[in-house]
């Protein structure tokens, strides 16, 4: 699966490590949330970069104590109709997580902009679609009514535009 970041295909430098695998030294590893919590004493001292995958029936809060130590969180869309990871992503960003937030699973073009807006900034995407289709899909709409979004395509927030000069909900850094 190609990895898409900043609207470009990039190499995936991260390795998934199962709950029973030994930890490779000094790498970029993705562990499950279960292992993260169970093996925290060990992982806290890990020499490489730490990422975690959170199943979409788990609460994002379980990661709260670890957020500052994490460089990647992977959330999943087992079906494109299963929208739980949008709220997990939003929760994590509201909790102050600033690292890479990756979407995996059944990602389609027409949900791509939504994923950006709730805070995802990397995507394991389907080979069916070409790069320029993903690029176009990330900016289908140039406006959003909601505030406090990640706006990687420069879309404008309607309410903030109408009432300029009033503090936005909470200024979000643009991802990437």
């Amino acid at each position: 699966m190609p990895l898409l970041k900043n609207n470009q295909f990039v190499n995936d430098e991260w390795t998934k490590v199962s709950d029973t695998d030994a930890l490779p030294e000094g790498a970029k590893i993705i562990v499950t949330s279960t292992r993260l919590i169970q093996d925290w004493d060990l992982l806290a001292k890990y020499t490489g970069l730490l990422g975690v995958s959170l199943a979409n029936n788990e609460r994002a809060e379980i990661l709260t104590p670890y957020l500052s130590q994490l460089s990647l969180i992977v959330l999943s869309f087992p079906a494109y109709t299963d929208g739980r990871a949008y709220s997990q992503a939003k929760d994590l960003r509201l909790d102050g997580y600033r690292g890479e937030l990756r979407a995996e699973g059944n990602l389609l073009l027409d949900q791509f902009q939504f994923m950006h807006q709730v805070g995802f900034d990397s995507f394991e995407v389907n080979e069916r679609f070409a790069l320029q289709q993903w690029q176009a899909a990330s900016k289908q709409m140039s406006l959003a009514y909601q505030r406090g979004l990640y706006r990687t395509s420069g879309e404008r927030e309607v309410w903030s535009q109408r009432h300029q000069g009033f503090a936005p909900w909470e200024e979000q850094p643009h991802a990437g």
């Binding site: 739980r84 709220s87 509201l94 309410w159 535009q161 109408r162 009033f166």
Partner: protein
């Protein structure tokens, strides 16, 4: 009325262009049906028995003459000359072609309308009291907050793939005409001692397979907190609502399975988690919207309208219509005109393009260019001078729009049923027509007083049968249509779910069964007691006995 600014215009145009692209990709095969379905549904396009069906949003049921004319134009040009007003205050067209849908959406956006989120597992068209801004008992106009929620919920990135569809209803009056207790979220306005507005937040009501009355999670939510608090409710639902079974996926099941207290605690915890938000912008936006809903410039008039009184004396039919179809307005000398789309033997909620244009003209001339669609599938002219009602009635009469049965047994709510709908298990419309013919005499209808009769052609309950004083549910038994009757439902502030009386009836037996029920009521009622009150006092027993005695 709300008017689009440059942002709203641009938003809807971009969305239309996006749909045009999606439809083209579907027709070229780039998108499969499975991939296209949720996209077309989010733009209100269904595939039904005979063609595609397009459901157009009429936000909180309010529309102008120009908008109604455009709906008529669409009916004539792209459909078969008519449309069907629905129980969600929308309109739907039954004979739509996929290849023309983008053009229709374009025509809608020309008059500041759209079909965004009239279907799909997202937040649907927000509904309110159809007498909003006009009703004498109103505390405040619920439409500004409705418009705020419409905007906030439009293409919400977080809440467009919910476990299931999600419906808001809002009332600004103590007498609930918006059925807020049988919606996923119902909001009801209150004022505190300081005169500030707050909203009672009710969650987890609904109809369908498992009808439930909503529970109150906040008695008085300050107005400035509405949007962030709704976000908290939606987030809890999106994360924890069931996705393993589509029949258990509505928020009512989550509320029920967690229990009201636990659900409330989850919402409050989510809400408390990110308290630093300022809602200054939301408040300013609400203030901006409120200006569009300022009262029209009513003339100062006397409560007594001599021409109106005269006309009633001279014309019995007009007097009857005036008695049944007019409602008390906030302002002296004005009235609310309820146009019944339920002529004898007609299809509830259907109107021809020509009738739509007639109503548009009446609204432009007599009602500050404003109309409402009610969830009971009627059209309302909200601000009419009493002195103009006779002229209006004459026009309505000439166009088969003067049925004098508003709120009576002939004013039937019915879903399209198996005549059109791919999900239906039985026909609804022929039952409505047969009942309407049986009780054609309005004098007879008046003897029965206010009765709400609601018909659904399947368990999904689009015809709101659970909350009809008399509810009829059409089912299929070994290839034969049959109909279950429930009594005692209500969608008012004292909401209740109807009780099934007993075995179902064949289609041809239904009108007689309804007559038996009504005659039982007439026999047993106390002076002045309405049908629902009598049922609540008597319980199902006497009705059951009367209905099944012969069997």
């Amino acid at each position: 009325m709300y008017r689009y600014d440059e942002f709203d215009h641009q938003f809807v145009s971009e969305r239309t262009a996006q749909f045009r692209d999606q439809a083209n990709r579907r027709m070229s095969g780039e998108l499969t049906e499975d991939e296209f379905r949720p996209l077309r549904l989010m733009n209100g396009l269904y595939l039904q028995l005979h063609a595609y069906m397009l459901r157009v949003a009429i936000p909180y049921g309010t529309l102008s003459g120009k908008q109604m004319r455009q709906l008529a134009y669409i009916a004539d040009k792209y459909d078969r000359g008519y449309g069907h007003f629905t129980t969600r205050q929308n309109i739907q067209y039954n004979w739509i072609k996929l290849e023309e849908t983008a053009d229709i959406l374009q025509a809608l956006s020309d008059v500041e309308m759209h079909a965004i989120q009239t279907s799909g597992n997202c937040i649907r068209n927000v509904t309110t009291d159809h007498w909003a801004g006009a009703a004498a008992d109103e505390l405040l106009d619920p439409r500004p907050i409705g418009e705020l929620i419409r905007q906030w919920s439009s293409l919400h990135p977080e809440f467009s793939f919910l476990p299931r569809k999600f419906k808001f209803a809002i009332t600004g009056a103590p007498h609930d005409r918006a059925a807020v207790k049988v919606h996923d979220i119902g909001l009801r306005a209150h004022k505190n001692d300081k005169g500030e507005t707050g909203w009672e937040v009710m969650v987890g009501g609904g109809q369908g397979r498992t009808p439930m009355i909503a529970v109150t999670v906040r008695d008085f939510l300050p107005e400035k907190e509405v949007i962030p608090y709704m976000e908290a409710i939606m987030r809890v639902y999106n994360l924890f609502g069931r996705r393993d079974n589509k029949y258990k996926a509505r928020i009512k099941i989550l509320v029920h399975e967690l229990g009201a207290e636990k659900f409330k605690a989850e919402v409050e915890a989510e809400y408390a988690k990110h308290p630093a938000q300022t809602t200054e912008v939301e408040q300013r936006e609400l203030t901006r919207i409120e200006k569009y809903f300022a009262q029209p410039s009513f003339e100062k008039m006397s409560r007594f309208a001599p021409h109106f009184e005269n006309a009633k004396r001279e014309n019995v039919d007009f007097a009857r219509w005036a008695k049944n179809n007019l409602a008390t307005h906030q302002v002296d000398g004005y009235t609310i005109v309820n146009i019944s789309l339920k002529p004898e033997g007609g299809i509830p909620g259907d109107a021809t393009g020509e009738q739509m244009r007639v109503m548009a003209t009446l609204a432009e001339r007599y009602s500050f260019d404003e109309m409402r669609v009610s969830h009971a599938q009627n059209i309302v002219l909200p601000h009419v001078k009493l002195e103009d009602t006779f002229a209006i009635w004459q026009v309505l009469k000439a166009n088969d729009l003067a049925a004098a049965n508003y709120g009576l047994i002939g004013d039937i709510i019915a879903c399209p049923g198996l005549d059109y709908c791919a999900l239906a298990t039985a026909r609804s419309i022929p039952i409505a027509q047969a009942i309407s013919r049986k009780f054609a005499d309005v004098k007879k209808q008046e003897e029965y007083g206010p009765v709400k009769l609601n018909i659904s052609g399947c368990i999904n309950a689009c015809g709101h049968h659970h909350v009809g004083h008399i509810g009829i549910l059409g089912l299929d038994k070994k290839g034969e249509e049959f109909y279950q009757i429930t009594l005692g439902g209500s969608s008012s502030e004292n909401a209740s779910i109807g009780t099934i009386l007993g075995p179902g009836f064949a289609a041809h037996e239904v009108p007689d069964a309804i007559e038996t029920i009504l005659n039982t009521y007439v026999k047993l009622r106390e002076p002045g007691e309405e049908f629902l009150g009598a049922y609540r006092r008597l319980g199902p027993k006497p009705f059951k006995e009367a209905l099944y005695a012969a069997a």
